[in-house]
Symmetry: C2
Subunit: 338 residues, 2 copies
C-alpha cells in the first residue's frame, strides 16, 4: 500500500451493535467526506469493546460483521478507507504495553471520560484493569498509524489529551520524533436526539433508528415519535425546539426551504403530527433506500465483504509494523536488526 | 521445533544487571538441572524490566547481552533450553491485553508482591500503570507457553496464584481448556547471603560476587568479607552461623567433609579468617574457572551467541503464536481463519 503524502485520520467504533442515524449524522457522513481528502483508517475496536464485554465476545464477533455492512452501505470505500479490526493488528497491543509504563495509575483514574463511564457502567470498585487502561490502548491505536486527526465528540477530548501526553513523554524519554501528536476534529453536528426526545440516540436507551431498519419498522418508529406533547389538535400551535421530528428533518431533508416552511406552519398551527411524520418517513426512506440497496449487495456476499476487511487488516498491519520497528529502535529493543 | 511430550518449565530474569553467585545458587544451578528433564523456556524479561526502568532502556539492552553470556557460561544449553527475549515475542503483549479485562484494578492493588515492591521502589502515588499490571503480563508469559512449572522464590507465590486465577477465569468465560494452571517449584536453597553478611546477595546492596568477576576481584571481595566480628584472634572460638564465608563453602565446596572439619576447628578456635578465606577463594576459583572459560568462548563471538538467542526467540514465537491461535478461537476473534 502507498500511504501517499496525505495526512492520516483515525476513527472507529466499538462493534457492540448496529449503527443508527445518530452514528450517521455524528460520524459516518463525516467519514465518507474525509476519505476523499485524507488517508483514513476506520477501526472496528473489538479489543476496546471487550473491555466491558469480555464475558460475551461472541456478541462482539457478530456485530463486527454487521458494522462492516453498515460501513460499506453508507459509502465507506475500501479503496479509499482502510477498514480494519483492532485485534487483527496485534502491534497495537505491543505498543499499549510499552505505553503503560509512561502513565501513572492515578493519572488514568483522573481521566474524566473514564471516570464518567465507570460510573455509568456501575463497575463500583471492581473496575477491570483493561477498562481503566483503555485510554492507553487508544493512544496506541492513534499513534501507531501516526494519525494527525481524530474525529471525536467533545466528551472524548480528554482521550486525545492523554494520547498527546504519552506521545510527548515517549519522544522525550527516547529522544525521538517517531510518534506524533494528534488533533481532535469535532464534527459540526455531533448529536441526533432519540425518537423518544432524549438528547441522544442510543442503542442502550432503545430510542434509535438503525441504518439497517426496514420500511415497516421505520414507519412504526416514526409514527411513535415524541413531538410537542401540547400539540394535541392540528390547529394548535406546536413547538419546533426539542421536537425530534424537526431535528431529523434538519439532518436528512435535502429541501431546506420546505423544512423552513413546515416549521413555520407547525409553530402557527395547522400542521398535524401525522402529516409531518409522513413527510419524515418519505425523507428517511429516500435517504435509506440507496444505503439499503448497497447493503443488499454486500449482504449477498459476506465472505467477499470480510475479504475486503482482511485486506484492510493487512494494510493496517503493514503500517503498524513499520511504526513498531521505529518504536523498538527508539527504545533500543531492536536486538536482531541492527 | 518439537515440544515433545515433556512438561514445560518457564523461568527467567529481569535483565537489569549481571548475574551473581546468589542467582546461581537460587536459580541457575536448578535450571541447568531442569533442562535435562523438562522443555525449559528461559526468558530475558526486558519488558518487565522496563516497567521500572522505562527511562533507561539502553541499560536493559546492554544487560540482555551480559545475561545471555551468564546463561551460556553456567551451562544453559540452547539445544535444550529455549532462551528468548520477552519483547521479541509480541504475542505476550497481545495476551496481556486480553488478560487485563479479567482482573480488577483493586485485585492488582492487593497483590502482596507488587505492594511490597511499590513500597521498596518509592513510587509513592505515581505508580506506572505498567508496573501495577506486571503480574498480568507475567500470567501471559507463563500461560502462553503452557508452562506446567515455574521455579520461583517464596515471595513470588502470589504471582502464580494471580496467574492461576486468570487461567480459571479465562477457561470458564470462554468455555475452553486451552490455558493451563501452573505450579510453583521452590528451589531447595533459595538464598545466599551477601559478602557483608546481609541476608541476601543483591546488586542493589552492592554485596555481590558476580559470575563474571575476575580472580583479583574475587580475592578482594572474599578478603573483605564479613565474618564473626568477635573472632579477633586466630585462637578465639568463632561463630559459623551467620558467617557468610561458611554459607559460601556450604554452597560451593564439593568436599563436604573438609567443610565440616573447618567448621569444627573454627568454632573451637585455632582457625584464622585469612586461612579460611583463602580456602574459599580456592573453592570459588575452582567453581568459576570452567564458567569463565565458557564465557571467554562466547564473548569472542557475541553475534554468534545472539544468533542462538534469535533462534530461541523464533522457537518461542512459534509456540506463543500457536497458543494465541487457540486463544483467539476460544474468544471468537479468529475472523479470517474459520
Amino acid at each position: 500500500m502507498s500511504i501517499q503524502n496525505r495526512e492520516v485520520v483515525l476513527t472507529g467504533d466499538r462493534p457492540t451493535g448496529p449503527l443508527h442515524l445518530g452514528h450517521y449524522v455524528g460520524s459516518l457522513a463525516n467519514r465518507v467526506a474525509l476519505q476523499e481528502k485524507y488517508k483514513q483508517f476506520v477501526m472496528l475496536a473489538d479489543a476496546q469493546a471487550l473491555t466491558d464485554n469480555y464475558e460475551n465476545p461472541q456478541r462482539i464477533r457478530e456485530q463486527v460483521t454487521q458494522v462492516v455492512l453498515d460501513y460499506l452501505s453508507v459509502g465507506l470505500n475500501p479503496e479509499k478507507t482502510t477498514i480494519f479490526i483492532q485485534t487483527s493488528v496485534p502491534e497495537i497491543a505491543e505498543l499499549t504495553v510499552f505505553f503503560l509504563n509512561l502513565v501513572t495509575v492515578s493519572r488514568l483514574q483522573r481521566n474524566p471520560t473514564v471516570k464518567t463511564e465507570i460510573g455509568q457502567k456501575g463497575f463500583g470498585l471492581s473496575i477491570p484493569a483493561g477498562f481503566l487502561m483503555y485510554p492507553v490502548s487508544q493512544a496506541a491505536d492513534i499513534t501507531i498509524f501516526k494519525a494527525r486527526y481524530v474525529p471525536v465528540g467533545e466528551d472524548q477530548l480528554p482521550m486525545i489529551e492523554q494520547t498527546n501526553e504519552i506521545v510527548r513523554t515517549f519522544n522525550r524519554l527516547y529522544k525521538t520524533d517517531v510518534l506524533r501528536e494528534a488533533e481532535a476534529i469535532i464534527p459540526p453536528i455531533a448529536r441526533l436526539p432519540g425518537i423518544d426526545g432524549a438528547a441522544k440516540m442510543s442503542k442502550t436507551l432503545g430510542n434509535a433508528i438503525y441504518l439497517s431498519d426496514q420500511t415497516d419498522l421505520i414507519v412504526k418508529k416514526v409514527m411513535s415519535m415524541y413531538t410537542d406533547p401540547n400539540h394535541t389538535r392540528v390547529s394548535d400551535p406546536g413547538k419546533v425546539e426539542g421536537n425530534p421530528v424537526f431535528s431529523y428533518l434538519d439532518a436528512f431533508d435535502p429541501d431546506k426551504q420546505e423544512v423552513a416552511r413546515l416549521k413555520e406552519q407547525y409553530q402557527k398551527g395547522g400542521l398535524g403530527d401525522v402529516v409531518l411524520k409522513k413527510r419524515l418517513i418519505e425523507v428517511l426512506e429516500a435517504f435509506l433506500s440507496p444505503i439499503r440497496e448497497r447493503r443488499k449487495i454486500y449482504e449477498a456476499d459476506i465472505p467477499g465483504a470480510m475479504e475486503m476487511v482482511k485486506r484492510g487488516c493487512e494494510e493496517a498491519r503493514t503500517v503498524a509494523a513499520h511504526t513498531m520497528q521505529q518504536v523498538r529502535a527508539a527504545m533500543s529493543l531492536d536486538y536482531f536488526t541492527s
